[in-house]
């Protein structure tokens, strides 16, 4: 294997508005190498992938493929050089079939230039079979496929171009274990043929499993490249802090006599197959496991945003039926949802409007909003959460990811709900803000709030929860106490691997 890199970025920089996403970052990958890019959100991994894949032009710096300098005007240029990317945002067409999507722009055509459904399906079958996918029907509409299946199709599409360089941005975010194993098998196969594979991931066990080399990013630049790296060291590099100080100390676990704020009995629906647990006052209850095993349904059901098929929800011992988010809020339950940009914030509206959105009734009389009260409350929250914005009237969409998340959290703090459902609250948030959010959670627990906390980051769960419930295939397969809890234990329970004693 030659030591000449197949893919390089040299002191690349890219700024969006006032935010420096890449700051003189350099990167190089070798042929036949599986190279992992790790880093906190906002560290620049995704931007680097976009630059390498031709989606984004860097403000400065050089790109080299196989040693030759290249300028990519768009993804197409990258494709011509054999470099294919699977981005985080899928580019599938929902109301067209798998076959149509797989073969888009290269459909088999007859002499008149027309495709035929039958040939299209047959060709797609061939492609799927070549990559070992037998379960997806090429005639199925993308819209009818699960997120995992869609991601598989997007990956197969890239693979079918026989790339010499394959870039994957969070390829496993929606995949379950079986598909992940499939992906890794494909990656290994490609590696054997000399292809360069670069991927980003937040899951350390994946990185450990498959990567030949790991490059850590922080603050828009590379901070180190390693062939082996321990997770704790990686976290230190990624966050700039030692693990011990990064996670604040947990307040004392609630006593056995503490109020059972929220109880769930055999709750089921969607991918949730039946879970039961109790959340106490002052407790942070973590929920772990791989995405797609019922977490989303659980949280939405507890917020009245989805109807359960079976099971009961009890608040302080009293059974309730939550028909809508409005009803949930009235019962003192708040949800910070998964995607703040599409489910949480109203980006063009002001910071103040977003903060007060859930408590408008309380701030108004006879339907008229009390301006002074609104201003005061918004100012109070901005100060308490240290939201960095010039004033409360600017559109929340102009804030950084971390500040946006704080605004969303602020909304629910204003609503004063004793039960808080946090769904991956630190996703897409910079390191400093993450720390602030952790401190906030501790403070809330200390003052008696009950927090149900889902995170895709097992390390976070291990350090921030009094107990962790691990969901797998819609059921709780493990309940892990905080003492001596490690991320590995959570992951193992999620994957039902056996840990070495």
């Amino acid at each position: 294997m030659s030591a000449a890199p197949s893919l390089e970025a040299i002191t690349a920089s890219k700024a969006y508005g006032g935010v420096q996403a890449l700051d003189n970052a350099s990167f190089s990958a070798l042929p036949g190498e599986v190279h992992a890019l790790v880093g906190e959100n906002g560290a620049g991994k995704s931007t680097l992938i976009k630059v390498l894949g031709g989606r984004v032009r860097p403000d400065s710096g050089t790109l080299r493929i196989d040693g030759a300098k290249v300028v990519l005007a768009g993804p197409n240029d990258a494709h011509l050089l054999g470099c294919w990317t699977v981005f985080q945002e899928l580019t599938l067409l929902p109301w067209m079939s798998v076959a149509e999507n797989l073969l888009l722009r290269r459909e088999p055509r007859n002499v008149l230039g027309l495709t035929s459904p039958r040939r299209l399906v047959a060709a797609a079958e061939g492609v799927l079979e070549k990559f070992g996918i037998t379960e997806i029907d090429p005639r199925a509409l993308i819209e009818d496929l699960s997120l995992a299946a869609r991601q598989v199709i997007e990956i197969v599409r890239a693979l079918s171009h026989e790339p010499r360089i394959l870039l994957l941005d969070e390829p496993t975010s929606a995949l379950m274990e079986r598909e992940t194993a499939w992906l890794f098998a494909q990656i290994r196969r490609l590696r054997a043929t000399g292809t360069t594979i670069v991927f980003t991931s937040h899951r350390w066990h994946e990185v450990e499993t498959i990567a030949d080399r790991i490059t850590v990013f922080r603050g828009g630049r590379d901070v180190g490249s390693f062939t082996t790296l321990a997770e704790e060291e990686a976290v230190t590099l990624m966050t700039g802090q030692r693990v011990e100080t990064f996670y604040p100390p947990l307040p004392a676990a609630p006593s056995a006599r503490a109020d059972a704020m929220l109880s769930v009995a055999d709750l089921a629906g969607g991918r949730l197959a039946g879970v039961s647990f109790t959340l106490h006052q002052g407790e942070i209850l973590g929920v772990g496991g791989l995405a797609g095993h019922g977490h989303r349904e659980l949280f939405l059901m507890l917020f009245g945003a989805e109807r359960p098929h079976a099971g009961r929800i009890l608040l302080r011992g009293r059974e309730v039926r939550l028909r809508s988010p409005r009803g949930a809020i009235r019962n003192g339950i708040a949800l910070v949802p998964e995607d703040r940009k599409t489910e949480g914030l109203l980006l063009p509206l002001s910071v103040r409007d977003n903060l007060t959105l859930a408590v408008l009734n309380r701030l108004s009389r006879f339907g008229v909003i009390g301006r002074a009260a609104e201003r005061a409350q918004a100012a109070r929250l901005m100060a308490r959460l240290a939201i960095r914005a010039p004033n409360a009237a600017i559109p929340v969409g102009t804030l950084s990811g971390g500040n946006q998340q704080k605004v969303l959290l602020g909304r629910w703090l204003l609503a004063d709900c004793p039960i808080l459902l946090f769904y991956d609250v630190t996703r897409g948030v910079d390191v400093a803000t993450k720390h602030e959010i952790y401190e906030l959670m501790m403070e809330l627990a200390r003052s008696g709030s009950a927090i149900l906390f889902y995170s895709s980051d097992a390390l976070e769960l291990a350090h921030l929860a009094h107990r962790v419930l691990v969901l797998r295939e819609g059921r709780i397969v493990a309940e892990l106490p905080a003492r001596d809890l490690t991320a590995e234990q959570i992951v193992a329970a999620a994957m039902r691997e056996r840990l070495a004693a």
Binding site: P75, T115, S116, E135, D137, R139, A140, D144
Partner: protein
Amino acid sequence: MPPLAIRRSAAAHAIARNIGLVLVIFLLLFSIFLYGLIYGLTEGRLPGGFELTSTVNNTMPLVLAAMAQTLVVLTRGLDLSVGGVVDLANALGAISLGATPARMALASAFILLAGAGLGLVNGLLVAYGRLQPILVTLATLSIYQGLAIRILPQPGGAVPEGYTALLTNTTFPAALLYVVLLGLFWTAFRRSQAGIAIVAIGNDEGAAAANGINPLRAKLLAYTLSGFFAAAAGLFLVATATAGDATTGNGYTLTSIVAVVLGGVSLFGGRGSAIGAILGAFVTTMIVNILFFAHIDPLYQSFYEGAFLVIAVVLAEGLGRFVRGRR
């Protein structure tokens, strides 16, 4: 471990995918049946060749207008100027269709080209002007209607018999041939690179662009073709009426939308078949016929049409969700 996806039979997929088409076929068959029943009860015999011919002839303009609207709706747009182009083609046809076949052919070609040009204007404004389709076509509707009235201020002009015989023959339903041709055109177009591009950008413009499809070109084509078919609708209209009128096309804007919706084409773009819209046009005419022969007070006609539209859409939505059911 649940499977990644469930495999179903080819037939199940075809139905799930074309549920809109399936429904409109059912609607059409049902309405034809109802029509035959009511006609038989009130006239004492089954509808015959004459009824078939006149129904088809009267529906042809709407069929073409529906075709025009479909192409734009597929790109997630709306073409409100359809009525205006129909008017303009109508007016031009009334004054320029001469007696000789050569003259007729030349005039028709010119009018169709003009329609395409008007559509192109819409397309340029939507694609390059980055204006919302509903607003652009609202404005161009006014412009095209004005032009039509300028050309033919009063109903009049003359359409030679031969032309009428060619397009909307009154002795036998020759127009059905055109319907078949339209169906063939659509089938071929849908399978062509251009057709796939139009459907793709209606699905998700960003995703389509990321896959190398040029949204600007696709939109230009969709609107240009829309203008072309709307002009054709105008020609059929003037042929049926045998004289020109620059205002009878106005109603086709909204009725073309109705036909498209009945035909299962989604107003959100990206899915549906023009064949569905064509059948939807026939359903619309059938409803009118049914109301007529059932001696429903013609004043109440719009009421039934409106009620029918809502019920059909609600049923279609409900059935569609049911069929696509569990993942």
